[in-house]
Symmetry: C2
């Protein structure tokens, strides 16, 4: 079945979609897994909190899975671990900060003590039977981010992880282009590279230039400065801290993930705040406003996060003050633009100033633009190429870029999640498809909400629902109570009394007709009630609420 | 109450929000209304089709309302007319194309013959007792767009409408800067100006430059070209037509609004397609692919519009062909980015090429950037200024721009919808607030869906619902049927049988307890059933479905 001399690359999530990144690499009876991320639900997934990958394929070969190797600590690469490790308890490898964030999550899920975590450094190589996994430093919007080179007997697969090429990163730890170059020289079988920004021309700017802008802004601020950014963007946070100290400001954190991750990062030495410069949020009133910087969550305008709570005056500890300056140091993730705008509008309404990406350079992407991608392709010059991370449009433009660099189209593979790419030293081909999918997490339920439930939620959201209840005495074929009608999310009942009364009359007539004809099979009665009601309501309102006919029998 | 020598400006919609533009201008017992638009529902307004302004204020003074004056034919300026004219039948004034589009709408609503429409030309002045309304040509992304100068005994109010300054518009009809300049010279009491792009530096590019790009793209295309754009963007459509003819292509239209508006525009001479160059969509197979251009709706990725139907192979008449080139000649309206991306991804998956704004200059905004705004402020140099059109953030930046030009902050008024600005020759002040609001249109219902219904729809969307029915014999205080539980959008029932059975048991116990204690008031029984159920379900699932307890009494 499996070619003795082949390695199989199987994206179990993350291809042609944003998030839920997880890839299996299989050689003989060894499987290693790269990343284990969540996706955020899209707007059709009503009520769903998270989406995690379906790992049936791995569970069917549970003995073969040797470990999960993490490129970096972002949610779309590690967020599913607490759920997946409950089903598949294998060793997890990652750099310090990555594992620090993972530990926090596993603790929240009460499974930390059952899990096996191995900390690695960039440059480390982990040997698993026939496969060696090498962590290689890259630059991204979180420290400890790595490319991963998978050395198999068939050849080297080079996975960039999420990356940009920052020649002047804030911590001075530049991407290990030397090692990547020498891997290229030795020969790389396949490159898997981040496609997120494959549509963007040129080169990302350095994180450091954002620091300069922030320092300039802070030095002009007359009151408190409140900066919202991603909690995991430690380089950004470090720069905000540094700029604050330079301007005689104390720093405090607000928002759960901001407090958690900054704590982890400080413990691990990834975030450095000299003593006396960090204060608790309760202490801000002890200092003049112009000596305070607050770093918060909510850069995406999330209604429950700190920034929105401040804006709408529901934050328990932080109230808006007249000379506050708010900085949104982040880009809107597609779909979040309106939420962010709502917060910006509200802050302006309250009379304070807000600076955001449209106005000043207060954010930069962590994903390589075209010129950076060209460099990596050129250094690695692999035999085969598979674009990863990004929507299909990004994969497609990454393919175009590889072709422009001279790569033969037949050596490029744009996979969909679940497709199997089989690589040997002589050829590469898509050899099949395995079971994959999206598992919905809703509250405590994992997988108990699926497409039927979501379809119902969608209809309920559109037009609400209407329950018709009637009690029937079976012996006499007669209605002894009801029909009663109860609606939610359909119409204002008071103003639609006539409509509801007409509806009751229609149900009663339909039931009388059925009962006279001695139709007492509940499913037939119900179907008839439902049908007559649907027809009536659509004609009157052009709406299609979910109709629940209920018959009680006594 | 009303100062004899004052004019009152009352935005009844459109201030600090996108869309629903409608402004009342009141002098003594005369009211004129500028525009009458819809807003599109935001994502929290589940199931709502359109939002129209609440015009209670006008209905209370129905005898005083002299007419509605339209700046141009976009939905956010005319879309509410069919609903508003049913309540308030007053004369409507607008340029030819604007009224052409309005007529179409009134016909659909079967009220055209009851309405009084007056066609005007740019330059025309309409005299209404003490007020003169002057239409002044501007440039925008639809022909026949005008500024409106309202000459009142107190002074001139100059309303820009939506505009940009295009020195080389496709139809050669440049904005009447000369008239605006002479109005400024004579003295303008207040300027009301479009703020949509007040955050953007520089100057919009001319519509003509888009034409050049499109011509270049079309001349290189090897198969059919399918261009999605706004149906009302006649200048854009004219340029696509011209580029097509130049390249030997026939043009056809797809999508209801595209077919309707292009038809109206051709009849009025606003869109010129020489005979023999326009074909019916059924005829496209009679020509080689490289001789076909299809102009469609769906530039916002709307799932039911032509472009998405083509992409997902559900279009009745147009199938994707291998060398098709798709052009999305529009910007995503905030909130639509994900829908558009979905269509782009699908087209790329089908193997065809897609060009959009991120890649080439195939769209330009119809709203003035900062440099254009500065020109208008400078020409008009009004005594007072009120920013209009745009979210609060845009109004705020427009205010900043006016201040930078030297205007005194006390002469600038940022209003919220409903606030009344009272202007006399000696002073201006916000003098009060009138009733305004949003009326939801859902199916055939206008106003029968409100906040309570929407709140229920939101909860239903999040966690679904659960109905508990029980039949009780009142005499014996005993349950004679049920409790039965029916859910929708909550959990997969099959996989949650245990949960549902436990839930039934809990309801039964709660009821028994109540009945034993001779509690038979339905509202108490229901409240207790509901409370025990909520507690149980939240503990088990962390979800809060809407719970409907129903008691049938026999």
């Amino acid at each position: 079945m499996i070619n003795e001399n082949s390695v199989r690359v199987i994206p179990l999530g993350g291809l042609g979609e944003i998030g839920k990144n997880i890839t299996a690499i299989e050689y003989k009876d060894e499987i290693i897994v790269i990343d284990c991320g969540i996706a955020f639900p899209d707007e059709e997934m009503y009520g769903v909190d998270l989406v995690i990958p379906d790992i049936t394929y791995l569970l069917d070969k549970v003995e073969n899975v040797k470990g999960i190797f993490l490129t970096h600590g972002h949610e779309d690469h590690i967020g599913a671990l607490p759920y997946i490790l409950k089903q598949l308890n294998v060793p997890v490898y990652g750099t310090r900060l990555t594992l620090g964030i993972v530990k926090n999550k596993l603790e929240e899920h009460n499974i930390l003590s059952d899990c096996e975590l191995h900390s690695v450094e960039p440059g480390d190589i982990v040997q698993i039977e026939n496969i060696k996994i090498e962590f290689i430093r890259n630059t991204h919007s979180i420290p400890g981010s790595c490319c991963i080179a998978i050395h198999t007997p068939v050849g080297v697969i080079f996975h960039t992880g999420d990356f940009k090429i920052d020649y002047t990163p804030t911590d001075g730890a530049v991407m290990d282009l030397e090692r990547i170059s020498s891997l290229g020289k030795e020969g790389v079988l396949m490159l898997m590279a981040d496609s997120t920004n494959a549509e963007r021309r040129g080169h990302t700017i350095s994180e450091k230039s954002i620091g300069k802008t922030l320092t300039k802004i802070l030095s002009n601020a007359k009151g408190r400065v409140i900066v919202a950014t991603f909690a995991s963007n430690i380089p950004r946070i470090q720069q905000i801290v540094d700029a604050s100290i330079k301007n005689g400001r104390k720093v405090t954190f607000s928002g759960r993930s901001m407090e958690n991750i900054s704590q982890v990062a400080m413990e691990l030495g990834e975030l450095n705040i000299p003593e006396g410069h960090i204060i608790n949020v309760d202490e801000i009133s002890n200092y003049p406003n112009e000596q305070i910087t607050i770093i918060t969550t909510g850069s995406q305008g999330e209604p429950m996060a700190a920034l929105a709570r401040i804006a709408f005056s529901t934050h328990r500890k932080i109230r808006i003050e007249p000379k506050d300056l708010y900085i949104i140091s982040a880009s809107p993730i597609p779909g979040n633009g309106k939420m962010i705008s709502r917060v910006i509008n509200q802050l302006f309404r309250k009379g304070v100033d807000v600076i955001y990406e449209d106005l000043e350079e207060v954010h930069v992407s962590g994903h390589a633009y075209q010129e950076e991608l060209k460099l990596i392709h050129t250094l690695v010059h692999p035999k085969y190429f598979m674009p990863v991370h990004g929507e299909y449009r990004h994969l497609k433009h990454h393919v175009d870029l590889a072709k422009k660099l001279g790569m033969n189209e037949s050596n490029i593979f744009t996979l969909e999640t679940g497709q199997v790419l089989e690589l040997s030293d002589s050829e590469a081909k898509i050899s099949g498809k395995v079971h994959t999918g999206a598992v919905f997490v809703d509250g405590l339920g994992v997988g108990d909400v699926g497409n039927v439930v979501l379809r119902d939620r969608k209809y309920l959201a559109q037009d609400g629902m209407l329950t018709i209840v009637v009690t029937i005495e079976k012996e006499s074929y007669s209605i002894i109570a009801g029909p009663d009608i109860i609606t939610r999310g359909f119409v204002y009942v008071k103003e639609s009394e006539e409509l509801i009364n007409e509806a009751k009359e229609i149900v009663r007539k339909e039931l009388d007709r059925c009962l006279e004809n001695k139709i007492v099979e509940w499913y037939v009665l119900k179907a008839n009630m439902k049908k007559s009601m649907e027809r009536f309501l659509y004609e009157k309102t052009k709406r299609r609420p979910i109709i629940l006919p209920i018959i009680m029998e006594v």
